[in-house]
């Protein structure tokens, strides 16, 4: 729920057209050839236009390998399944094996392939490697992004490698955090255009992890609330407003380098493993939907600082018009969150709406699962949220109920690389 400049980029460079899972399965070797095409082909895509048109057909594959993990600056998909895990093993070698197994599975799933030996055709006595519900579905632009929580650095002798930029979040005014929906040693963000593909990915990673890691909490999301693709329709949140109009775009290399990606020299030598990575703040923000819906239009527009129909900043005509902050109420959400009011603080937002049914009192258990990527949590979310938590008019209608922060390691470079190698490899 922060209003910040956002980096926009069609991210087409990552995407290559890939056939459906079924086709890949059927053709056998074709997957390899296409993988190569996707890696090398780096189709340049015209900026502007709809995300799907920009990326490719919604069913395509997003390249898994790269300097940065996919799922951050790549175009935002429609659906989310986000899972936080606790590490259960105390054996570092076993943990590393898991990360390698996960990487192999993620490599296959993001290419639209089944895990391991597939979902059928194997021994009748053994459960299949893959759970099967994504068979026949296209890759659906699935991205899998791993992160390491602060608590992980209390294990495996990693204490010295915890970056200062991975700061514990302070308690903000109004926080009502549920410990069972907060924290985690690891996270995996699965985004896809088909919810079944995203859920399949988390389910299969969790299964591979049994005995080594255990899911601590997870969150489904729909209706992306931010875009990293300029020119595409700005999504609306569950309050009915366009928010995140000026997110960082995936094409804005300069702003990505400045605000999102961890640089070579960031932190000390112990943090060098994070170069090319980022830091993620995840917040489960419950919205008081029913009370909001009883709020007058004027009040709603004042709270956001935008008009509801067009999404234009107060006093302006068009959504993308430069906001004149002084035209807004002092506690308007956009005014407080805008970089100009925050010494330029900018994060890349990638949040989703959620509805987990109702709450037992007949009210929607709904809100925003806020995801923000930044180069340093101390210079991103923390100062931003301090300001919002203290003053934002929106606070009357929202409550932060879950919270987590993760270090997002750099991308997996190639077929031999694995998630977390720069942190955990003994050879590195």
């Amino acid at each position: 729920m922060t209003e910040t400049d956002q980096i926009q980029e069609p991210g087409g460079a990552r995407a290559g057209a890939t056939p459906s899972r079924r086709a890949v399965l059927g053709w056998g070797g074709a997957g390899l050839a296409l993988g190569a095409a996707a890696a090398g082909g780096a189709v340049a895509v015209a900026t502007g236009g709809d995300e799907r048109a920009a990326g490719q057909a919604a069913g395509g594959a997003v390249e898994f390998h790269g300097a940065h993990q996919a799922g951050i600056a790549t175009p935002v998909q429609d659906r989310l399944h986000f899972a936080a895990f606790d590490v259960r093993t105390g054996d570092r070698a076993e943990f590393v094996r898991l990360l390698k197994d996960w990487t192999a599975a993620a490599r296959r799933m993001t290419a639209g392939k089944a895990v391991g030996d597939g979902a059928y055709g194997g021994l009748a006595e053994a459960p299949p490697d893959d759970t099967g519900e994504a068979l026949g579905l296209p890759p659906s632009r699935l991205t899998l992004t791993i992160g390491f929580g602060p608590s992980l650095f209390g294990k495996f002798g990693l204490a010295g490698n915890r970056p200062a930029a991975l700061a514990d979040l302070p308690k903000f005014p109004g926080d009502n955090l549920d410990a069972s929906r907060s924290g985690g040693d690891l996270c995996v963000q699965a985004c896809a255009d088909d919810p079944q593909v995203a859920v399949h990915a988390i389910r299969n990673l969790a299964r591979i992890g049994f005995g080594k890691v255990a899911i601590r909490w997870s969150q489904l999301g729909f209706g992306k609330t931010s875009s990293t693709t300029p020119g595409s329709q700005t999504p609306r949140n569950l309050f009915g407003f366009k928010d995140g109009t000026r997110n960082i775009a995936g094409t804005e290399t300069g702003r990505l380098e400045r605000f999102v990606w961890v640089g070579e020299g960031d932190g000390g030598p112990d943090d060098a493993w994070m170069a090319g990575g980022s830091y993620l703040v995840a917040r489960r923000i419950r919205m008081n939907i029913e009370t909001w819906d009883r709020t007058s239009l004027q009040e709603q527009e004042d709270v956001f600082g935008r008009d509801k129909g067009e999404g234009a900043p107060a006093g302006k005509a068009k959504e993308h018009d430069e906001p004149f902050l002084k035209a807004m109420k002092p506690d308007a959400h956009v005014r407080l969150a805008h970089p100009d009011a925050n010494g330029g603080i900018t994060v890349l937002r990638r949040g989703y709406s959620f509805t987990d049914g109702t709450d037992g009192l007949g009210r929607l258990d709904a809100g925003l699962f806020f995801l923000a990527y930044q180069r340093d949590v101390r210079e991103g979310f923390i100062p931003l949220q301090r300001r919002l938590a203290a003053h934002d008019a929106l606070n009357e209608y929202i409550q932060h109920v879950g919270s987590a922060v993760f270090a997002i390691p750099p991308g997996v470079r190639d077929e031999n690389d694995w998630w977390g190698r720069t942190l955990l490899s003994e050879e590195a």
């Binding site: 021994l123 006595e125 299964r207 049994f210 255990a214």
Partner: protein
């Protein structure tokens, strides 16, 4: 209690098929001339041939009896090569199987129970029937004995429980309740393979079908813990529990047990823990779920240990992981003993005192064991 009860039987047929032969129960268009005609009636089972060449064997079955019947090709030790259940009166069915050379029997089982009426079947040529690893035969025999021992050991414990109920002694009955269930819980998949016993002795109130009268342990559990009193009906139900469990004790030795069904049974015991015990649904009035939990784990471990010599050879990484996860789960359960020094006791903390985070920890440990346990069957059949 669980909804699906046929796994052991199904697995038995599958295992037999995989161990020695490839069986196929689909209808076939085989020529009448090659087929063995099997005419089943209520007391007879006539076959048109006693000797056939190895390979594709076809049975043309006709049920001329008044009851539904089941026809099987079985090994001398009763392992099933191929079978067709529920052939109705007056109906026909064609059963085909790939059968290697050896001695078999064709069994007609009118009413689909009992030993049935049998005819010898000799299959010639094409080498001899593949012999199962003798260590697996040994494992099956030992597990069969274990299942019998558990039933035998349960009856005196149940009688103690029942006597307390019949005497109207609520406190004594409560004390005897949980341990009376242990033998059953340890061998639940075998017990459940007799589809008719489980619904009588171990059904929970929400598992009742329309018109089904609630009997068994959990009915008495509710009377003791929730209602806190014993009436005439409870006393009668207690007696019936003994009768039903004696039926189990009598039949358990005839259960179809194969290496695969043992391995799957071990996994199913963990499934029982995952769906019933970790949630606290099994003993929702008595909260003795951890005693059942312990029994399930012990039974799974027994089956695993008997299969381990073969599995360890085929998949040493798997058995190493299973050893580790069994130990981890048992260590975790030990934390819930009321007397932590006594590892032989079955006194555990009341499950309503086990908090949400502790239940999560137990659930994670169950998942950690059940996932590799699901691969045990393959490690036993694969050479």
């Amino acid at each position: 209690m669980r909804a699906v009860r046929r796994t052991v039987v199904t697995a038995a047929a599958t295992a037999a098929a995989l161990t020695a032969l490839t069986a196929c129960t689909a209808k076939s268009d085989a020529e009448d001339g090659d087929a063995i005609r099997v005419t089943a009636a209520d007391d007879t089972c006539e076959t048109s041939a006693g000797t056939v060449p190895a390979g594709h064997v076809t049975l043309k079955i006709e049920n001329k009896g008044s009851k539904a019947t089941e026809v099987e090709i079985v090994f001398p030790d009763d392992r099933i090569v191929s079978e067709k259940e529920n052939i109705g009166p007056g109906t026909k069915y064609t059963l085909t199987a790939e059968v290697k050379a050896g001695s078999y029997e064709i069994a007609c089982r009118p009413g689909m129970k009992g030993h049935g009426v049998r005819q010898k079947l000799t299959v010639t040529g094409g080498g001899t029937a593949a012999k199962r690893d003798p260590r697996l035969d040994q494992a099956v025999a030992e597990y069969r004995q274990y299942a019998q021992d558990q039933a035998d050991g349960t009856l005196p414990r149940v009688e103690t429980f029942v006597k307390a109920v019949e005497a109207g002694d609520v406190a004594a009955a409560k004390k005897a309740y949980a341990v009376s269930r242990l033998g059953w819980e340890r061998t639940e998949p075998v017990a459940e393979s007799f589809g008719d016993i489980d619904p009588k002795v171990d059904v929970r109130e929400d598992g009742l079908e329309d018109g089904q009268k609630w009997t068994g342990w959990h009915r008495l559990e509710k009377a003791l813990w929730q209602d806190g009193r014993i009436g005439a009906e409870e006393k009668a139900l207690a007696g019936r529990l003994v009768t039903d469990l004696k039926d189990w004790q009598k039949r358990v030795g005839r259960a179809e047990i194969t290496p695969t069904s043992m391995a799957n049974g071990a996994k199913e015991l963990l499934d029982e823990v995952a769906t019933g015990k970790v949630t606290g649904e099994e003993d929702r009035y008595a909260h003795t779920d951890l005693v059942d939990f312990k029994g399930n784990v012990e039974g799974a471990r027994k089956a695993y240990e008997l299969l381990e010599p073969v599995a360890a050879k085929n998949d040493p990484a798997l058995t190493a992981e299973l050893d580790k996860q069994f130990a981890a789960l048992e260590t975790l359960l030990d934390k819930y003993r009321t007397d932590k020094a006594d590892k032989t006791s079955y006194e555990f903390v009341s499950y309503d005192k086990v908090g949400k985070e502790q239940r999560k920890e137990l659930s994670d440990a169950v998942n950690a064991l059940a996932e590799p346990l699901s691969k045990l069957a393959a490690a036993v059949v694969v050479k």
